[in-house]
């Protein structure tokens, strides 16, 4: 296990050490101390390493993650795990806006609450939030899953494509083209599996499912004159 103190070094040195593992993985476990809200911690990882960040992380923590397992023992700023491809990211506290934005794969777990636009433009990753999510979550989300064990803010799933959303608590309002859908057996199975992977013991039967009505999928474009 290697410990890197950001206060004594820099984010650049940390990230370079982590990136070097893609070429030749000499160290499987990293502990990061004194992050003090620094931005871009552990972004662009491309190796099966475990990174434990002890403290709060700033913007874009674990951005574009591939294969790595990153845990923030604190809160995370905007753009947490943005465009993640695979692996997993967990935040023990809360996450700010745009958590999991455009993420293509992997699992993002937020033990606390997530801010606005959680899962915006999601492209295939799974996100499980233990608390609430803010307004415009899953805006234009294309694929993947968002599970919210608390409440959802305004305009949930606005202009949604094929992402599936499960919410246990209340939904303040649904966005354009987002509708409540029947919870079938396959959805209960999927939700059960996601809650298990996230380590949450909520009852899947307490959730409602939301998805796209698919009414906005096509313009009428026959306007050639």
């Amino acid at each position: 296990m290697k410990t890197i103190d950001i206060a004594a070094g820099s984010v650049r040195e940390l990230n370079q050490a982590l990136h070097d593992q893609a070429e030749h993985c000499s160290e499987r476990e990293f502990v990061v101390t004194n992050p003090k809200g620094a931005h871009n911690i552990a972004c662009g990882l491309d190796a099966s390493v475990a990174v434990d960040i002890h403290g709060h992380a700033g913007y874009f923590c674990a951005g574009m993650n591939k294969s790595a397992s990153v845990t923030v023992h604190g809160n995370a700023g905007p753009g947490l795990a943005e465009n993640m491809m695979s692996g997993s990211v967990r935040v023990k506290g809360d996450a700010s806006a745009a958590a999991g934005a455009t993420a293509h794969g992997g699992l993002l777990v937020i033990d606390g609450n997530a801010g606005s636009r959680c899962g915006i433009s999601l492209k295939g990753a799974d996100i499980v939030v233990g608390g609430n999510v803010g307004h415009m979550s899953c805006f234009m989300a294309q694929a993947g899953t968002l599970v919210v064990c608390g409440d959802a803010g305004e305009a949930l799933g606005d202009s949604l494509y094929e992402t599936r959303i499960y919410v246990k608590g209340s939904v303040k309002s649904l966005g354009a083209d987002c509708v409540e859908k029947e919870m079938r057996e396959e959805h209960l199975t999927e939700l059960t599996e996601l809650l298990n992977r996230a380590g949450f013991d909520d009852n899947p039967a307490d959730f409602k499912r939301y998805g796209s009505a698919r009414e906005l999928y096509n313009f009428k474009i026959d306007n050639a004159y």
């Binding site: 990230n15 931005h39 874009f60 951005g63 905007p78 753009g79 491809m85 494509y161 050639a224």
Partner: protein, 444 residues
């Protein structure tokens, strides 16, 4: 006056300048369909442009270079501010971002082949990077767009530069559009969306807002690529002075300013014609901003939107640009709107030279289409050869003008080498009206 107008005059008929036939046709079209007109191409209205500027060749007070033999450098290095590995191009004419999806795979390959043969860069678009494009492009700029379609760190690391797109000249403030008829299985898979869905790309980035956030985003991209490649910021020409300053502050290595004549694959006609400012007006604003910050030539400026010939290239450089980008002209070089397909254009209600319904995917020239039968009309090798030839002509023409002005490097051209033909262009370009010392807004 056209022959048709002559006939009208003879018949005593008078067409309204306000409600001309094109305008009335659009009113009827809107009344019939109930939806705005969507089309490709760039602004078709006449705006002050580079044709309104002239070079002052050398005479008694200036010493010209011998036109064919004396050296005139065209090589430019982009991204010298922070990147470990800046992009070096042999000609200051680059290929602008155009997506696979909007264009066929053959067209993208041809652009890569042509650019590589001429020693310059090409650019991905709102649809990710294809292996064909990467394979055929010796220098490839990877666009980082609001939609993030196909965005992934592997392709990011394969890029020679990253272009963060905030907007484009054809539609500043608007997102991309790729309608369902062009969404084949491959395009759909690259964009993670169902086949046949109209893809209306986001107009703003999903995970940052404002220039302070952008500075952190740029740092993230640098961290992911270990500070190896330059980061460009592309904006549509609107509030260019302020956008340039904010882009420099956010940490850009290169700024790309796209004027309103810049093309698009599809957007609303009203957007194309009524939003943004002409390229000519934008360049001096960007250069002023860079100069005030002491960053002119430190942060390079690429200009696009309506560049057609070597004179346009040279005029951009004289106004302070470090390089230009071409999109529409590159497609025309490949064969877009070629008269040999005129019968096929007529079958779809258009004509060679007028075709702009790129969004419909029926391009007879096989360029802005995903139809395999149409796409095979463009041979990527031949297309690449044509584009390389065209790029060489642009470069030779620009060199000719630079030598005539006594310059041994295209970047030594300066505003002092230019005059304007109209008051409007003099005001926008900030050069004197020909035959006077008058620069509107600067002297009386």
């Amino acid at each position: 006056m056209s022959e048709e107008q002559d006939l009208n005059v003879q018949d005593g008929l008078r067409e309204s300048a306000t409600f001309d036939r094109v305008t009335m046709n659009e009113i009827r079209r809107a009344a019939e369909t109930g939806i705005y007109d969507i089309r490709g191409f760039g602004a078709k209205r006449k705006v002050p442009h580079f044709d309104d500027l002239l070079f002052l060749g050398a005479s008694m007070s200036r010493y010209p270079l011998e036109g064919y033999r004396e050296a005139c450098n065209t090589q430019v290095t982009l991204g010298t501010r922070f990147a470990k590995k800046p992009v070096v191009i042999d000609t200051p004419v680059t290929i602008a971002g155009m997506s696979f999806g909007a264009l066929s795979a053959n067209a993208k390959e041809a652009l890569g082949r042509g650019a590589s043969a001429a020693g310059t860069s090409t650019t991905t678009g709102d649809g990710g990077m294809t292996p064909e494009e990467r394979g055929q492009s010796s220098k490839l700029v990877y666009q980082y767009l609001p939609s993030r379609y196909g965005m992934n760190p592997d392709d990011l690391r394969k890029a020679d530069a990253i272009e963060v797109v905030l907007g484009q000249g054809a539609k500043p403030g608007g997102g991309g559009m790729l309608l369902g008829q062009k969404i084949t299985d491959r395009v759909a898979e690259m964009r993670t969306l169902p086949k046949g869905v109209d893809q209306r790309s986001a107009c703003r980035h999903p995970d940052w807002t404002g220039p302070d956030d952008l500075a952190i985003k740029i740092q993230e991209l640098r961290e992911i690529t270990d500070w190896r490649v330059p980061i460009y910021i592309k904006v549509g020409a609107t509030r260019t002075y302020y956008d340039t300053k904010l882009a420099v502050k956010a940490g850009a290595d290169v700024i790309v300013v796209d004027g309103m004549q810049g093309g698009t694959a599809a957007t609303q006609e009203v957007f194309i014609e009524h939003v943004g400012v002409p390229t000519l007006a934008a360049i001096p604003q960007a250069v002023q901003a860079l100069q005030e910050m002491g960053m002119h030539r430190e942060v390079q400026l690429i200009v696009s939107g309506g560049i057609r010939n070597g004179a346009d290239v040279a005029k951009c450089m004289a106004l302070g640009a470090d390089a230009v980008a071409i999109g529409t002209a590159a497609l025309v070089a490949l064969g877009c709107n070629h008269p040999k397909w005129d019968n096929d254009f007529k079958k779809i209600g258009s004509a060679a030279g007028f075709y702009d319904d790129y969004h419909e995917g029926k391009d007879p020239a096989g360029i802005s289409t995903q139809d395999p039968e149409l796409a095979q009309r463009l041979d990527p090798v031949e297309g690449g050869r044509r584009l390389a030839n065209y790029l060489r002509v642009l470069t030779l023409e620009a060199q000719t003008l630079a030598r005539a002005c006594g310059k041994n490097d295209l970047r030594n051209l300066e505003p002092e080498d230019l005059v304007a033909l109209t008051v409007e262009s003099a005001a926008m370009a900030r050069v004197p009206l020909a035959g006077t010392n008058w620069v509107p807004g600067q002297s009386f």
